[in-house]
Symmetry: D2
Subunit: 345 residues, 4 copies
Amino acid sequence: MIKAGIIGSTGYVGQSLVWFLRQHKDVEINFLCSHNNTNIAFSQVYPNYAEYIHIDCIDIQSAIDRFSKIDVLFIALPHGKAFDLATKALESGIKVVDLGADFRLKSDSSYKLWYGLEHQSPNLLSRVAYGLPETNKKAIIEADLVANPGCYPTASILALAPLLSHSLIQKSSIIIDAKSGVSGAGRTADVSTLFCECNESIKAYGIASHRHTPEIEQELSRVADEELIVSFTPHLIPMNRGILATCYATLTKAVDQDELNKIYKEFYIECPFIRIISTPPETRWVKGTNLCDIAVRIDKRTNRIIVVSAIDNLVKGAAGQAVQNMNIMFGFKETEALDLLAMFP
Amino acid sequence: MIKAGIIGSTGYVGQSLVWFLRQHKDVEINFLCSHNNTNIAFSQVYPNYAEYIHIDCIDIQSAIDRFSKIDVLFIALPHGKAFDLATKALESGIKVVDLGADFRLKSDSSYKLWYGLEHQSPNLLSRVAYGLPETNKKAIIEADLVANPGCYPTASILALAPLLSHSLIQKSSIIIDAKSGVSGAGRTADVSTLFCECNESIKAYGIASHRHTPEIEQELSRVADEELIVSFTPHLIPMNRGILATCYATLTKAVDQDELNKIYKEFYIECPFIRIISTPPETRWVKGTNLCDIAVRIDKRTNRIIVVSAIDNLVKGAAGQAVQNMNIMFGFKETEALDLLAMFP
Amino acid sequence: MIKAGIIGSTGYVGQSLVWFLRQHKDVEINFLCSHNNTNIAFSQVYPNYAEYIHIDCIDIQSAIDRFSKIDVLFIALPHGKAFDLATKALESGIKVVDLGADFRLKSDSSYKLWYGLEHQSPNLLSRVAYGLPETNKKAIIEADLVANPGCYPTASILALAPLLSHSLIQKSSIIIDAKSGVSGAGRTADVSTLFCECNESIKAYGIASHRHTPEIEQELSRVADEELIVSFTPHLIPMNRGILATCYATLTKAVDQDELNKIYKEFYIECPFIRIISTPPETRWVKGTNLCDIAVRIDKRTNRIIVVSAIDNLVKGAAGQAVQNMNIMFGFKETEALDLLAMFP
Amino acid sequence: MIKAGIIGSTGYVGQSLVWFLRQHKDVEINFLCSHNNTNIAFSQVYPNYAEYIHIDCIDIQSAIDRFSKIDVLFIALPHGKAFDLATKALESGIKVVDLGADFRLKSDSSYKLWYGLEHQSPNLLSRVAYGLPETNKKAIIEADLVANPGCYPTASILALAPLLSHSLIQKSSIIIDAKSGVSGAGRTADVSTLFCECNESIKAYGIASHRHTPEIEQELSRVADEELIVSFTPHLIPMNRGILATCYATLTKAVDQDELNKIYKEFYIECPFIRIISTPPETRWVKGTNLCDIAVRIDKRTNRIIVVSAIDNLVKGAAGQAVQNMNIMFGFKETEALDLLAMFP
């Protein structure tokens, strides 16, 4: 039984972590840290836990003071806030899963370019494992600092990696059109995510400028073993959870549907959370789960391939994947605490 | 390990039963029966189960033929369809949980009055236990035929039983104004439950005539030990799941808020799924769970009491309660397979 | 052609006023005032008006400076903010429609009790007309200061007035269970009205304490010609617009359905926005309109009457009714600019 | 004052036509035809019209019998149903706007290929005007048979036409990723469009095979003056109304943002319903209107252009555009009955 601490526990992602860790048989939650809710009962912030979780949120300094008592630290904070915490945690000899963006990009100059902020721990970058187990498991096993992927990159990379690995698509032809539920915007009071502003509408945002773009490019380039850039457009959808990524690319050679399905299935053969399916994925079938459903279609008329992937942005796109990474880092069963299927409707 | 069969497995309620039974450590699903989807893979009807459940739906005769191989039968069919199946199952010596309406009313004449149908198994009525464990556990323990309560009655009875048990309210003063998500209407192709017909609207329906009224009255009368009638109005709300029941009654004596809370907590002291809370319940905090959250308020100006209860109509209001009943009937832990909290948002 | 100014123009209610006034043939908008958006183009705050409204928002002092140039002032501010503005406007000889709560209650002590604030213009109270044309048209015709009713009171009073006018119900028996869309909470950044907090959930709030209670009681007492108090419970529903009020009361005498419908139709015979219908109202059929749909049902078993009314909270419950009041005050056609039907779906 | 008949008046599109025609000052509705609701009051099918429209639906033969009494016929039926009606109407000397798919494709063999049906009126194809006024107004003025465009083609063609007209993009590089509200699926009882099946989910459908593809290609080819093919993927979004089309293409030459905006504004300079805006369009700002909002972005990193367009699928994508076409055909003001802005929220 290991002990875990969560910093940023009252955001949507942090709270989702609590949800999964509560039912993990090898993990005990040691503390919940929340800057905004210090000294308030966690179950008062989230009444779904009433009578089940009896923990008051602590402040960041108190959290740091407890590093010696935990085995793993989860950081679920906005970008720019994890540098110091990760450094201190590693110095205390505990493993870290950072769910923010601070350690996802291998290049500090790229970080500065896209996040507008000087990277404050460039020395740590070489020991970070990018936490997408389906493409990077070996590194995660050995890492003590894992950068949990962004939600859009998770869906996008899982959709495209097999094609790049087999050099089936033109590297300059990739377009990713992604759609996300509103929980991706976090639990911050903001007019733009009020119910009446999101309900009954859809929009694109961050066109040609979203910060998940370099992360997608970094990891797809690694798989392709060659630098590539992509067009990536996120959209906001009136639903709580879920990401659907519709990916387009031009084929480099003739391939038929059966071959494609086989390539995908083989690529993910040891990956318990990937389902290669024949009908187009729908986010409802993976809601609340750590699964990623993927379907591939050839458009013979245009010589393009269309890959659609669906995940739950708060689970496979955040908290669930963090638990999966922890499971791998500590040698637990990879699916421990993550074996639920979507509760429908 | 017992074996279970489900008839009506591809409705929303039947499918929810599958969801919970899949993770029940003492139960194995033996067959899934679906009139409309005979010979079709269950996971094709509900792709959330893809790669996890490999069972083809069977027809009703095939289900009956398998009665000898199961220990418990769940029937999730529209009213009027359970008479014959329950009779045959009991003759086969297996226990039955009927999630429909056929065995909920103790009086066959009341059944005929409200359902417009002759009761076909009046002889079974005396051995039926009404399956609301919080008010009727002893009978459920001994029963081989349990009538799983309706969703509205579950929320309504749980809200009002403590008051009636303590004679705190005037019996003629009870008004129940209930609100339900759309899944309560089932998975039937019907214009009135199309997305565009329900979204962005609310309506009352079945005013002064809904079939759950006599069921509420029967059980509240039993608790009150006196015949009573109620006004009950259901409403349709644009959300998938959840029931909120707002209940009004006139006080018979002075009582303060602390006393009331104490009365409720004591009444439900041995009930693992009831939470007496101080803030008004919201369905999101019980979504996907077998919990019922209840809050009580005194309105001194009008000498009324207002009780609000929240459940998930498909869980505590249907499939979860059925599993709870099965747990009690077979001596399993009452919360087995039902210990999840609401996944938010 | 008269000239109008709107203070509080960038809230949901203020913006709705702009929408209706834009297509009013007898009105020209002179200024739009917004504390939070001073010097910003109105169409930047609300892009639905892009290329159609070319007005920059002004601050409050600039608005006051323009009082001499307008004929009517609409104030759409939170309570406590209208006292001074109304006083100055009346001194400038212009008519005022206040869409806030400051002039709705006839008694300044009641205002203090429910709003926790000293009334600052008690001298004006005697010249205020409560702006519900269906019950108070004569006063509105002659008034220069109209207090536009709250959204819940509009739905509630319209549902119950005919019964009280005919002494058909026991005055102590009235219960109003009301449900509102989220736009009623306004356009303020607040966690509790974020999309993910409201979507897929329902709750009661302000139980036995909501500020619309004394307003409902005041106006129903006036119709009944006798003091009465009511139980009123509002609920929050996951939809943008609409209020449904389900009202319960005990009958004082036998009456049949036809008589009741006749009583309602006669009571509202000169009211162009009231529809007495035979099926239960749904908010979708009045969405975007100034209509109020009402249906009445007798519950013979309990000797109660159930009245359900549906309005659009931002139209008949706010901006539309304000325009209706202005039409009456200025002698325009009562339905001018308000003759649209619900756009469905 | 002309007289209009509507066949298929009780679908979502037909009903929307009624909504707009009711407030058209030059048009009187002569009959409403509905196969499924013959002899039923239109306002019973759609209670938003209660007390405002007093017309009973008639059957198709009765509609045909009235052709001599009308000036314009709107046909809003599924594909394959308009051939005979259009023929008879034209023979009766009345003008026809067909809102279905039967006359959109110029080639009967293409029709057969995509719709799986022999075209039954190939002789009429040469006299059809494709009813997108922004690219084809001259033909519409002279036509007596107008094929109202599909909803996706309207959004897609309007987004891309200026680029093709100026040869700014590679013709083989076009990808259209479109998202639609559920009303696009019509008012047919079907499990797949039930509230609980669509709410809280998103999916792609008709990948590489949707019937709107050849229509988009036909019209874009005409503008480009060269045959081209596109990749088109529609998605279903949990909202009632609205289409957002996100379009990608590779630039053929360097162009800056200002030039692009100027090109778009000039292309649509005489088009009252097109707004070229600088922020990404959102469907809420055009909901209920005949407007199309368009924004263009250059992605310098990938040398691509991204164009996003937003329409209301039932208005500019169907009924509103049909009225616009009628206005043009009869010499009315193009914006007559279509001058409303989005009612928000």
